[in-house]
């Protein structure tokens, strides 16, 4: 397969940058950090672009890289970790579980892979198989990480694990 050109790269980026940024934003909840993640992902992509012709599914490949950039950022202990996004004031530990900042702060307390699994499955609407491919793990791992992540998130938000089918009146 011939090497892919700069023109191809620019065309690809133009078509995909908005989608990548949205996924990055859903992962981290911060527009500026989402830009940083996409910048790094595209840099990696360009570094590999001449050889990318060997990759069957470029979109999946790029999204895998994006998730990896996110996980690396969250895992690497010696980076300054942004625990909370948005206002510097930490949101109350027991806030309304329907407020974005409260849910985001709770999500940030989960291990990075659990964060990624929940975001990819329930905000990016990706099926288990696709999430497993993005995270380079088995479907079983995705399921167990999902279960652990949800249990923990509910506990952090004070939402009962076995909620009735009809949402109770909060008043």
């Amino acid at each position: 397969m011939p090497e892919r050109s700069d023109r191809d790269y620019l065309a690809y980026v133009h078509a995909r940058v908005a989608g990548l940024r949205r996924t990055a934003f859903l992962l981290c909840g911060d527009s500026h950090q989402a830009d940083d993640f996409v910048q790094e992902t595209l840099t990696k992509l360009y570094a590999r672009w001449p050889r990318i012709g060997r990759v069957d599914n470029v979109d999946a490949y790029v999204h895998t890289m994006l998730v990896r950039v996110f996980l690396d950022d969250r895992r690497r202990g010696w980076w300054k970790v942004r625990l909370l996004t948005g206002p510097p004031e930490p949101p109350p530990a027991e806030g309304n579980p329907e407020d974005g900042p409260v849910v985001r702060a709770a999500l940030a307390k989960l291990p990075p892979r659990q964060q990624a699994v929940l975001v990819l499955r329930y905000l990016c609407d990706k099926p288990v198989r696709e999430v497993a491919e993005l995270l380079r793990c088995s479907e079983g791992t995705v399921k167990s990480q999902t279960a652990h992540g949800l249990t923990r998130l509910r506990a952090l938000l004070g939402v009962p694990d076995l909620e009735p089918a009809v949402s109770p009146n909060r008043w």
Partner: protein, 404 residues
């Protein structure tokens, strides 16, 4: 099937990023081209590439790296064997890296190692994948653990390994010994470490209700480790050869946890907080224990919502702290006081610190992303794996570094 309740739980986060994207596409090409050249011509050169994520999304904690090195001296402690400590040469030399065989699997991780450095454990992925044990660099056993996502967490010098798998939502701990796999006592068990005496420690209980636990032998009854008043959750991460256990405990699982020691005499104590820049740390998260030392990270949560880490080691005998010369993670301490450390940055291989000396381990092929899992008692064998996923590298490959 999609879980509607889960979708509803996360729905408040379903927002769009603000403003126009600030992606500098020309810069991705300049920087990407530079990386192509680096990869092609510099190979294993120790070039530190600060990625744009590092530059833009956070600040490298250089202050911690540049401060005068406290030169942790190797001191015999109450539990130390002075002759071994005295015999340790200044630094490891002649380090080499080898990829371990994987029985045909392209992807495998090395997650466990014994003090002698002869036994290593991990898992392979793909069809026929599962736990694997190596002895002297060769495949020694393929234990079959019932359940999904079976993996090994530790192995001792007799080749007794501990690991776990998931039976539905329930995590089940197992022991592999002499060709046989047996279940550990208890429900929802996760054995994390085993010492040469066969003492196993880990966690027991459902997610959010995990408690530190010890099994005195593979067939023993699970014994919950005592928690101080007000503390309800935690786990035991590692066990020293004298039976000292280190772990992390918390008031409840929604709170952050911090280091705690269970001593062989049956008493326990919270690890005091080390002094770091500007006062005591908020938490300490242990990575390893050996010969009376604990190594790990001090955690500093600041008012602006940021979290900073400092790699430290702690001497159990007198409760003293020393900052480690490189601020990396994890920090796996050996019996002679050397510390195997994770990579100091992207594009770097792991390190071994001996006193104030830092020895960089060689890279494997073109791999840029490394995790380490184990160090031998003599500090000369470090096990881990790569997490690269480009070119001929396929995600995880198990590696062993050996030094003289």
């Amino acid at each position: 099937m999609i879980d509607e309740r889960a979708v509803r739980l996360l729905r408040p986060l379903r927002e769009e990023p603000e403003g126009p994207p600030l992606i500098d596409v020309p810069r991705t090409m300049v920087e990407g081209r530079r990386r192509r050249v680096l990869r092609r011509w510099s190979g294993g050169a120790a070039l530190i590439t600060l990625t744009s994520v590092a530059a833009g999304g956070g600040t490298l904690a250089v202050s911690a790296l540049r401060e005068p090195v406290p030169a942790p001296t190797v001191t015999a402690t109450a539990t130390a064997a002075p002759s071994q400590v005295a015999a340790a040469p200044a630094v490891p030399t002649g380090c080499k890296v080898t990829r371990l065989p994987t029985d045909g699997a392209r992807k495998a991780a090395l997650t466990a190692g014994d003090p002698s450095g002869r036994y290593l454990g991990g898992r392979t992925y793909g069809t026929g994948g599962g736990p694997i044990i190596w002895k002297d660099g060769r495949i020694f056993a393929r234990p079959r653990l019932t359940g999904e996502d079976a993996g090994l967490n530790d192995i001792n010098s007799s080749g007794v390994a501990v690991g776990s798998a998931f039976l539905g939502q329930r995590q089940q701990g197992y022991v592999y010994r002499d060709g046989r796999v047996t279940e550990l006592d208890g429900q929802h068990t996760a054995p994390l470490a085993i010492n040469d005496a066969g003492v196993i420690v880990g966690a027991i209980g459902e997610v959010l209700h995990e408690a530190p636990v010890r099994w005195d032998s593979p067939g023993a009854t699970a014994v919950r480790l005592p928690l101080p008043a007000g503390m309800t959750s935690g786990r035991a991460d590692a066990v020293d050869e004298d039976g000292t256990v280190v772990g992390r405990i918390a008031a409840d699982s929604s709170k952050l946890d911090s280091g705690y020691l269970w001593l062989p005499d049956g008493t326990g104590r919270a690890m005091e907080m080390p002094e770091i820049e500007g006062g005591p740390a908020d938490y300490f998260w242990p990575d390893s224990i050996s010969n009376g030392w604990v190594a790990g990270r001090a955690v500093d949560d600041r008012a602006d919502g940021s979290r900073w880490f400092t790699a430290m080691r702690y001497r159990i005998a007198d409760g003293s702290w020393q900052k480690l010369p490189k601020n990396v993670h994890p920090n796996l301490i050996a019996e002679n006081g050397w510390v195997a450390g994770g990579p100091a940055g992207r594009d770097e291989a792991p390190i071994i610190t001996a006193g104030s000396e830092v020895v960089r381990l060689p890279r494997y092929k073109t791999a840029k992303e490394y995790e380490i899992s184990t160090v031998s008692a003599d500090g000369r064998r470090v096990g881990g794996y790569i997490t690269d996923m480009e070119g001929e590298l396929v995600g995880n490959e198990p590696l062993l570094w050996t030094c003289r």
